[in-house]
């Protein structure tokens, strides 16, 4: 009989502490200063997908009761409070939303609000209206540096341990050689392995992974 899985995710919510900083220590320090109200003004982070932009924005908001919004959810106004307003994926801002963010910049001083923005490109390369793009260029900007493969392997092993999983070293090596090596892909494979190991009552080993690949798991 197949064991049913109770779908409770044990992963900790995103925090600045559980973000693996790697080469991003200066960025984390700047975010920490911002959530403590001691930042150097508005912040803009950019980087390739799957480098943890949303993790960082959510973590910062959680740390100081800030508000997190994805650019796709922004209408023609933005709230003047709380003190930290995070907008993710600003490359997806529509026309009205871009003016809403422009207004948020202009009203920030009066509202006592700090903006924390994230996008996919450096300020100079963003295709947004120029009056908004230059305001983003005025922010303290950081490119999120991607992780190395060694760091990704280490994070995967740590996360597995945190979930109480024992994962063979060769499984991690196999995933790094055969699968996509960005963190969301690796984590979704870890989820799949976790579920399968529980359902089949088997340890997470290479043979289990191979069986799953044969039955259609995409890594």
């Amino acid at each position: 009989m197949k064991q049913l899985v109770l779908d409770i995710r044990l992963d900790a919510p995103p925090t600045l502490e559980n973000y693996f900083a790697g080469d991003n220590a200066a960025l984390i320090a700047a975010l920490q200063a911002t959530v403590q109200g001691q930042g150097m003004g508005h912040l803009y982070l950019w980087g390739a997908p799957a480098t943890g932009r949303s993790h960082l924005l959510r973590a910062a908001c959680d740390a100081c009761q800030g508000a997190y919004l994805n650019a796709r959810e922004v209408g023609n106004t933005l709230p003047g409070s709380p003190a930290l307003l995070a907008i993710d994926d600003i490359n997806h801002l529509g026309n009205d939303a871009a003016i809403a963010l422009f207004n948020a910049f202009n009203r920030a001083r009066e509202n006592g609000q700090t903006l924390l923005l994230a996008g996919d490109l450096p300020p100079r390369a963003l295709s947004l209206r120029e009056d908004l793009r230059t305001r983003i260029g005025q922010c303290l900007g950081f490119e999120i540096q991607p992780l190395t493969d060694a760091a990704r392997s280490a994070i995967l092993s740590t996360l597995a341990t945190q979930r109480g999983l024992r994962i063979d070293g060769d499984v991690v090596t196999y995933l790094m050689r055969h699968g996509r090596r960005d963190m969301p892909s690796l984590l979704s494979t870890l989820d799949a392995l976790d579920r399968a190991s529980f359902e089949r009552k088997r340890a997470i080993t290479l043979p289990l992974l191979r069986e799953m690949l044969q039955s259609g798991l995409d890594i």
């Binding site: 390369a125 305001r135 490119e143 960005d182």
Partner: protein, 474 residues
């Protein structure tokens, strides 16, 4: 106080120092002596903080015989309004003469919160509850003529603004300032407003962004309170509308502004307008409004030339209590030409980087700090881009990346491209193999290992890889 009176011209002393009130309770709980000064409004607070707080700290040190904390605050209308600014006399430069060129390393500057405190405090500050006259103006006390750098790009606009500040409502009405984004239009008109307020604190001044004026019109419409709206805007002595191009196709807003404009100019009240284009080029604005903009003086702000950009950076660095050497200022100014905002963003980045790493701001540190900011290329590399770049670099055909040929002149660059694809993209090794003519993932793995092994001893290959990585990353 008496010492300060002796040092300053009487007018300055009366305007700024006499207006302060000392709070006796300050420092009661701390070991070091402390002085808490209460400024009547934020404008005075800002002015005193910029110009006199260090000297007060030094005099305090002489008086108490120990480093003295000087804190500035606003009258208590609620704790949320407090904006304490502290300066430890032990940390600041020894004489007022050295204020403009503090010989402080960045690490020390970060621990002296003179310039930092207000910025640090403001984001967490609750919205202002004070009803003081200055707060109602919505002016930014940081934007004054003193903090505005002048050059060929804005000297006419500045001269006009100063003249308007001398005689509001009389000299040029309206004053229409136009120019591209991020060139300092807003700074200039705030400076004008602050100057009018400084000379006449009773003047009713209002800075309003065109979008906020529009929001006011909408609110008046919804609440059927046009009478209040009209009465308020016609009661002003100086009305400043920023970015009037945002009125485009907002007919009711334009109509209300048209009437306010007529009423104010008739009453010899000053109107100041900024726009991103010359009046006649504004889209979607009624002709009767545009023609009125010509009644006064229209001045342009142009993009700043290199020397002015350098001066702007130095001024900005001064406000952070940082000495910026010429070569660093030139580096930033040469790379960011179009507008002042991005110039400031780059400077902030350099300052933050130097502080985080506890380094002095040197040319190398600045280059390192700005590496990601100045790299405008898209870092999301595709495998096709890597193949093309590597093929071009080694002067082979892109098709050879997919071919079965195994001669070294082709195989080695192919291995280099595979290794770079692994390093610079999150693609799986089988996917990389596929992109190189359907090769197995073990071939990719072999390539990565071979290249890693070879580059250790082969300096030329190591150099090639370094160059290619730089090129691909921008």
């Amino acid at each position: 106080m008496t010492r300060l009176q002796g040092e300053l011209p009487p007018q300055q002393f009366t305007t700024w120092i006499k207006a302060l009130r000392a709070d006796d309770d300050a420092g009661a709980n701390t070991a070091a002596p402390a002085v808490l000064l209460v400024a009547p409004n934020r404008f005075v607070l800002q002015w005193v903080r910029e110009r006199y707080v260090r000297r007060i700290g030094e005099l305090g040190e002489e008086f108490f015989g120990a480093p003295t904390e000087v804190a500035l605050t606003l009258p208590v209308n609620g704790e949320a309004m407090r904006r304490p600014v502290t300066a430890s006399a032990a940390k600041v430069a020894p004489s007022p003469a050295s204020v403009s060129a503090p010989a402080m390393p960045p690490a020390a500057a970060s621990s002296a919160p003179v310039a930092e405190a207000p910025r640090a405090e403001s984001p967490r500050r609750a919205p202002a509850a004070s009803t003081s006259a200055y707060d109602k103006t919505r002016l930014n006390p940081d934007f004054t003529f003193d903090t505005l750098v002048t050059g060929r790009a804005n000297d006419l606009a500045r001269a006009a603004a100063m003249q308007v500040a001398d005689n509001p409502g009389v000299s040029y009405n309206p004053l229409f300032v136009y120019g591209g984004v991020g060139l300092g239009k807003t700074h200039l008109i705030h400076a004008l407003g602050n100057e009018v307020f400084r000379r006449n604190p009773k003047a009713i001044i209002r800075y309003v962004h065109a979008e906020d004026y529009y929001a006011d019109v909408v609110r008046a419409y919804q609440q059927k309170s046009f009478d209040v709206f009209k009465r308020y805007y016609r009661s002003l002595d100086v009305l400043m509308i920023d970015d009037i191009q945002f009125f485009n196709n907002k007919n009711r807003t334009q109509e209300e502004f048209f009437h306010a404009f007529n009423a104010l100019t008739e009453a010899k009240k000053q109107i100041i307008i900024t726009c991103d284009t010359y009046p006649k080029d504004i889209q979607g604005l009624e002709d009767r409004l545009i023609s009125r903009f010509d009644w006064g003086l229209t001045v342009q702000i142009e993009p700043p030339e290199l020397e002015m950009r350098v001066a702007i950076l130095k001024k900005k660095a001064d406000s952070h209590n940082i000495t910026l050497c010429d070569d660093v200022a030139f580096l930033i100014a040469k790379n960011l030409r179009a507008n002042v905002r991005e110039l400031e963003g780059a400077l902030t980045k350099v300052v933050a980087f130097a502080r985080f790493h506890s380094k002095q701001i040197t040319l190398d540190v600045a280059k390192e700090a700005l590496k990601d900011l100045l790299n405008a290329h898209n870092r999301q590399l595709t495998i096709e881009h890597i193949q093309k770049t590597v093929a071009d670099y080694f002067k082979i055909k892109v098709a050879d990346m997919h071919s079965k040929k195994r001669t070294r002149v082709i195989a080695r660059p192919r291995q280099v491209a595979m290794a770079l694809a692994k390093d610079l993209t999150p693609m799986s090794l089988p996917a990389i193999g596929d992109a190189f003519g359907g090769r197995d993932h073990t071939t990719v793995l072999h390539a990565c290992r071979t290249i890693a092994e070879l580059r250790r001893n082969d300096t030329q290959l190591n150099h090639d890889l370094h160059v290619l990585t730089q090129v691909l990353r921008g």
